[in-house]
């Protein structure tokens, strides 16, 4: 169900409702809650037709954020604060050195959530591969962008996604680990997945890959993927159950 499936309209068509250019906003380092309020305000204005589609690029100071399905056992053991948020997915960490992209986009109707998520992943895969991680791809059953296991290391996630769609307008988005510390992931069960690891572009490539280096390539790839110029294709290298989908009532 999570692997690329036949889209409901041609894959080379734009998923955006509008043909006007995407407005790109570089925000620098912004406190999580401040950025969240900005996103909510922009999404409301976009839904009302007061503004056009936006793409926010930023970094957050160190913070954990938790979606509704986050389990008590996923939460940090180091006493750092957690912001409970309204996106999909469970717990994650944001911090400097991690590029965050929040597309505030009005999607074409009927809203195709699966297609939107796969297009974001496609853009990240293209960006990550272009910078040198040639084997990055998808794991069927899990969202995000992954680097496959080798002799020494397990599958590891380089980019995470979490989305909210209100009145056909997207908010939240994706985070791509560039040269951030991985220390803070050690205190949580990131995304509720405990049998895999987290990585950065710098760790994978053995050189410093900064947010600045990948920002423009990511913008270009996102623009192309949303427009249907970069077509979603199958970059699945493995299949694994998503442990967060165990649908027991006790899971709530």
């Amino acid at each position: 169900m999570t692997a690329p499936r036949q889209p409901f309209f041609p894959a080379d068509r734009s998923i955006r409702a509008s043909e006007n250019p995407l407005e790109i906003r570089h925000l620098g380092v912004v406190d999580y809650r401040e950025a969240w309020e900005l996103q909510a305000a922009l999404a409301q204005q976009r839904a009302a037709g007061e503004i056009g589609d936006q793409l926010l690029l930023l970094e957050h100071p160190s913070v954990y954020t938790a979606g509704k399905r986050t389990q008590p056992s996923d939460r940090p053991t180091n006493g750092l604060p957690v912001v409970d948020v309204d996106r999909g997915g469970r717990i994650t960490w944001h911090g400097e050195g991690q590029l965050v992209a929040y597309p505030i986009i009005k999607l074409a109707d009927p809203v195709d959530v699966v297609d939107y998520v796969r297009r974001l992943e496609e853009a990240v895969i293209a960006t990550v591969r272009a910078v040198g991680v040639d084997n990055a791809g998808r794991i069927d059953g899990r969202s995000g962008v992954w680097v496959p296991a080798d002799d020494h290391r397990r599958d590891r996630k380089v980019a995470a996604l979490g989305i909210r769609i209100t009145r056909g307008v997207t908010m939240h988005g994706l985070s791509l680990n560039c040269d951030n510390t991985l220390e803070h992931y050690g205190h949580i069960v990131a995304c509720g997945i405990d049998d895999a690891d987290v990585t950065t572009l710098s760790a994978e490539l053995g050189r410093d890959v900064t947010v600045a280096e990948v920002t423009d390539p990511l913008i270009d790839a996102l623009r192309a993927a949303l427009a249907g110029e970069l077509v979603v294709s199958d970059h699945t290298f493995a299949s694994a159950p998503d442990p967060t989908k165990i649908p027991a009532r006790s899971d709530l």
């Binding site: 999570t2 769609i165 649908p247």
Partner: protein
């Protein structure tokens, strides 16, 4: 694609009620999300539904569903009071995908006023369903 039940009515926001628009006011109807919505949402992993006694307003959000790392709003297709909730979906959300017009129903509403609703044929036409 699951075929659309002929005797149901459909909202622009992809919810259904299990009766015609004319018959809705004053009656108690089941509410769910359509196959058009479920196929585009992907696998539903969580749903937050209104509670019994809650007032819901047509075309206004009344809950949320999460699928594919995304949270989407659930909109009420009618105005009225919630009289029952399908707790069984919390035991296995996949029923929303596998049987959206049957066992995957979400809640029941005693209707005071129907929202803007379409027939199966109108909804199919609006969403390119064959």
């Amino acid at each position: 694609m699951t075929s659309l039940p002929e005797n149901y009515s459909y909202s622009e926001d992809h919810e259904w009620i299990d009766t015609t628009a004319d018959a809705a006011a004053g009656s108690t109807v089941k509410v769910g999300i359509t196959s058009v919505a479920t196929e585009r949402l992907g696998e539903v992993v969580y749903a937050e539904l209104p509670e019994v006694g809650d007032a819901v307003t047509a075309s206004e959000p009344c809950g949320e569903v999460e699928s594919t790392k995304s949270v989407s709003d659930l909109f009420a297709p009618v105005t009225g009071t919630v009289t029952a909730v399908n707790d069984a979906v919390h035991d296995d959300y996949s029923v929303i995908n596998s049987d959206p017009f049957g066992d995957g129903w979400l809640f029941e509403v005693e209707v005071t006023e129907a929202g803007p609703l379409m027939t199966a044929a109108e909804y199919a036409e609006a969403n390119g369903v064959a």
